[in-house]
Symmetry: C2
Subunit: 340 residues, 2 copies
């Protein structure tokens, strides 16, 4: 039986396995430090499609199909799929996955979607409600820029705190316990809002949510940073990561040497002109499903806390003077299953 | 233990209860045939807020707080909340619910959101992953019109097939089995796309999804329309309802006398100038949480199939020449719990 630990954390007693996973990225990500880890790198940012939105849909479909192929599964063997993305009405997911015929749960968690979908997938497997579930998300630099910021043709200058939306997708298939990686615990976030209003400083808006979820998880589980090999946030970037460390230091938790951020791992900030680092749903999805999960499977990383954060505003809410609410969900992924 | 029946349907063996529910609507809905059933009717379509988006957020918050109050619960007694809406980045939900401090799962299922959130809430309770879960959604005529169609000031003429977005919200709290209504079975939909491209004829785009989910459910459970007192779709309206009946007749299921649609119940089509009926996430949410659930609680309705459909396009995808994918999720809600 699943077990609530403290107020916010749930221990998945059956330790569901991440059976398979796959990542898809484009040219810029393929020129970064993680190039050797991705399953598919497409140099054409349009992925052979006529629009950026369709390119993003294509990435999500390719990521799911690749993960299915690696697991030796067909889409008819999947009970449910959880998917979401940043675009209005989540069209990358709905158009990308419409041909698969898998019972579909659409999510909106902004850049927290990969962690949100992992949590829900793990819960359904743990509760005996599903045997195999897919969690998938994506983002695309060009579709995000024109929706959230400026038309690319405008050539607007970017502030130093701004982050570069990753063109990428990641998909993971969860199932009953077989082999590592195992999903051991989850901690679902609440909406946090510290009053940040700068749409070009998402890291700062999201850091308080990551701090809240992490400190609740540590408290609920009576653990601290030393119990984990890696504490990996989704896309706080340089500014948000530094803020997170400061916020948790005030709570008595020292993240130094343990924390990293997918937005800092995916690009070479010295050479790739991405300012404060990578961002977008596809950032942590593609990093998790390429670089991180194989390391847990092989045992080079044993215990990883994966915390994806989402900024839950829209251009409309910001234009109306609203601040930026954010959320962070956590998944403890391990090379070892938990005690039964 | 939950039990998969056939390929698509899951029987919730513990028959979770819908512990409490509440509905919030505005002036036009308060002038319709269901006026006497709503918890809150606010004649000010802005709900005292400065923008329509904030008004919609306010409705969602009020619906949740009213449902909590009716159950004698506080927000700290809720394990999770599932919420979503039609607006870009689901801002009605995120801004409306940010102060509640409840672990939050954001959904995007368009007008299927109430059924999607009921299915997921029921699954978590059934699987022992939660004791109490809230499912909530909303829509607002004015925020939807300006986002999906034309500025209101433009005064554009509406086609006969167009539907009127309900200004309303509905919230339901699910928990372990105590009293009726009970959630007995769920059937999660797949994305269907029959190639409809007319954004002013949502009913036609969504009817095939409702037909697919309903016929799968009948097949999985070896039941038919005669086994239920009411088969209630979300917002197919006049055109979509007629199509649904035609599509199911071809499969050998006669819906006549059993089927109704929330979009046809909520307005008086003769007097209220809503063309093909009501629509929006808040349509079936407010009808379910006002008129339908009390009837099941009192036993005047015994077995109801609640099927909410969502059209999963965006203005961008339609401008790019895409057709409208849709989805339908089903919840069998009953005055009697299932056999253990």
């Amino acid at each position: 039986m699943p077990q609530k630990i403290g107020k916010f954390t749930t221990r998945l007693d059956t330790s569901p396995s991440i059976l398979s996973f796959a990542s898809v990225v484009s040219k810029k990500e393929g020129e970064g430090p993680l190039a050797g880890y991705f399953d598919i790198i497409c140099d054409d940012t349009a992925f052979g499609e006529q629009t950026w939105e369709k390119a993003e849909s294509r990435m999500q479909k390719d990521a799911v199909n690749k993960a299915l192929e690696k697991a030796g599964l067909s889409s008819s063997g999947i009970d449910y799929i959880f998917a979401g993305d940043l675009l209005n009405q989540c069209i990358s997911s709905t158009y990308g996955l419409r041909d698969l015929g898998i019972p579909f749960f659409g999510l909106f968690g902004a850049c927290s979607t990969m962690a949100e979908s992992l949590c829900l997938s793990g819960m359904l497997v743990e509760g005996g409600l599903a045997n195999t579930v897919v969690a998938v998300t994506s983002s695309h630099f060009c579709s995000a820029e024109r929706q959230f910021r400026f038309p690319l043709e405008y050539g607007g200058q970017r502030t130093p705190t701004s982050q570069w939306t990753v063109t990428g997708a990641g998909a993971a298939i969860l199932g009953k316990q077989t082999a590592p990686p195992y999903l051991r615990e989850i901690c679902v976030g609440t909406i946090e809002d510290m009053g940040i209003k700068d749409m070009n400083n998402m890291g700062a808006a999201m850091a308080p949510a990551a701090a809240a979820t992490l400190s609740r998880f540590f408290e609920d589980t009576c653990t601290g940073p030393d119990n984990y090999d890696l504490i990996l946030t989704g896309d706080l970037g340089l500014v948000g990561s530094s803020l997170l460390c400061d916020l948790l230091a005030k709570e008595g938790y020292a993240l130094a040497g343990k924390h990293n951020d997918c937005g800092l791992l995916i690009y070479d900030r010295e050479k790739q002109d991405v300012h404060a680092g990578g961002s977008g749903c596809g950032c942590c999805a593609s990093v998790l499903c390429s670089y991180v999960l194989p390391a847990i499977r092989e045992g080079t990383l044993r215990d990883v806390l994966f915390i994806a954060t989402g900024a839950l505003m829209s251009p409309t809410s910001v234009q109306q003077g609203e601040s930026i609410p954010s959320i962070a969900h956590l998944a403890h992924i391990s090379a070892l299953p938990g005690p039964q």
